[in-house]
């Protein structure tokens, strides 16, 4: 079977990371946690739970950590890569379905969409923020996806080697879409269920960060 690696970017997630790593290990050959300069024990706990851990000496943001994780997964010899949030909002069974879909070999990229089937308990404010993110992504890159900001996504080695992820922070989610368009990667979305807990909600993007992310995307588009 093709080597499957799950990449988990994590910043100060000592509460949730152990369970997330253990669940991920059930469906992947390796789990690579990128500790993005956490000030807590995220790295030790992830390693103790069985993950391969690499550490950013300083905090670089989600985009920086994902870029490191994907590069690291390639160096570990991954054939199929899935990225997953560290706060426990994604289910390992969904990650497995993404791996299985990629293994069929006719596509390069899978986005786990929280919107395809309205399952789970996504709060209303999140749902609207989601739509705005999708609309902006479409406006900028002419690609419609139902969940442009999803953190659960998968790609083949072929796709990962071609991606050029340059953003350091939250705008990375939309940058994946840009890369999918630019590199002509074959994309499918599959429905996933996001598990919202008080903990995972406290870890999400605030409204202000959302605005900053949007402005950054527009600014980039004007420059590049």
């Amino acid at each position: 079977m093709q080597k499957r690696v799950i990449v988990i970017p994590a910043y100060c997630e000592e509460q949730a990371i152990a369970d997330v790593v253990r669940a991920a290990l059930d469906v992947a050959d390796r789990v690579l946690v990128v500790d993005d300069g956490s000030t807590d024990r995220t790295a030790e706990i992830a390693a103790a739970a069985g993950a391969v851990v690499v550490r950013h000496a300083i905090n670089r943001g989600l985009g920086g950590a994902l870029g490191t994780g994907i590069e690291g997964a390639l160096r570990l010899g991954a054939e199929l890569i899935v990225t997953m949030d560290a706060d426990g909002q994604h289910r390992a069974s969904d990650a497995k379905r993404i791996f299985d879909r990629l293994a069929e070999g006719d596509i390069d990229f899978v986005i786990g969409s929280r919107m395809l089937e309205q399952k789970g308990n996504m709060p209303l404010a999140r749902r609207y923020a989601q739509r705005l993110g999708n609309a902006l992504t479409f406006f900028l890159y002419r690609k419609w996806v139902t969940d442009s900001q999803s953190g659960l996504r998968g790609m083949t080695r072929h796709a990962a080697e071609r991606l050029e992820i340059r953003s350091s922070r939250m705008e990375v989610s939309s940058e994946f879409i840009k890369e999918i368009v630019d590199k002509k990667l074959r994309l499918v979305e599959i429905p996933i269920e996001a598990v919202y807990t008080a903990y995972s909600l406290s870890k999400g993007q605030s409204f202000a960060v959302g605005i900053e992310t949007a402005l950054k995307l527009i600014w980039r588009r004007l420059l590049d």
């Binding site: 950013h56 920086g64 870029g67 690291g72 160096r75």
Partner: protein, 113 residues
């Protein structure tokens, strides 16, 4: 001569002196020195003869000399801001790349263990 004229001229003289001193220490190329000199000369010229700016303003179709100065200054500030933001973003990316390489060094030692 009004107070503001004297202040502006002194300011220009100091600016010019600072540029020359940086050039001497190798902080500026000759071209940069020439540009700065031109800028400070312009400031001094407009400060000592405000009507000169008005003549330029008329040519450009702007009413008053002072307005031309403000427009040009605003354009210069926007340009500098743009360059600053672009450079800041560039630095962000470089720091991320550096951090990434350092982190992945750890991965290689992990694998060889």
């Amino acid at each position: 001569m009004t107070v503001i004229q004297i202040v502006l001229i002194l300011f220009a003289v100091f600016g010019f002196a600072a540029a020359v001193s940086r050039y001497r220490r190798g902080g500026l190329s000759f071209r940069q020195l020439a540009l700065w000199s031109l800028l400070w000369l312009g400031v001094a010229a407009v400060a000592s003869r405000p009507d000169a700016a008005t003549i330029v303003a008329r040519r450009l179709g702007v009413g008053r000399g002072a307005d031309v100065v403000v427009y040009l200054a605003l354009a210069a500030v926007f340009y500098l801001l743009f360059r600053l933001l672009a450079r800041l973003e560039d630095h962000e990316r470089q720091i991320t790349r550096l951090t990434r390489e350092l982190a992945l060094k750890g991965l290689e030692t992990h694998e060889h263990r």
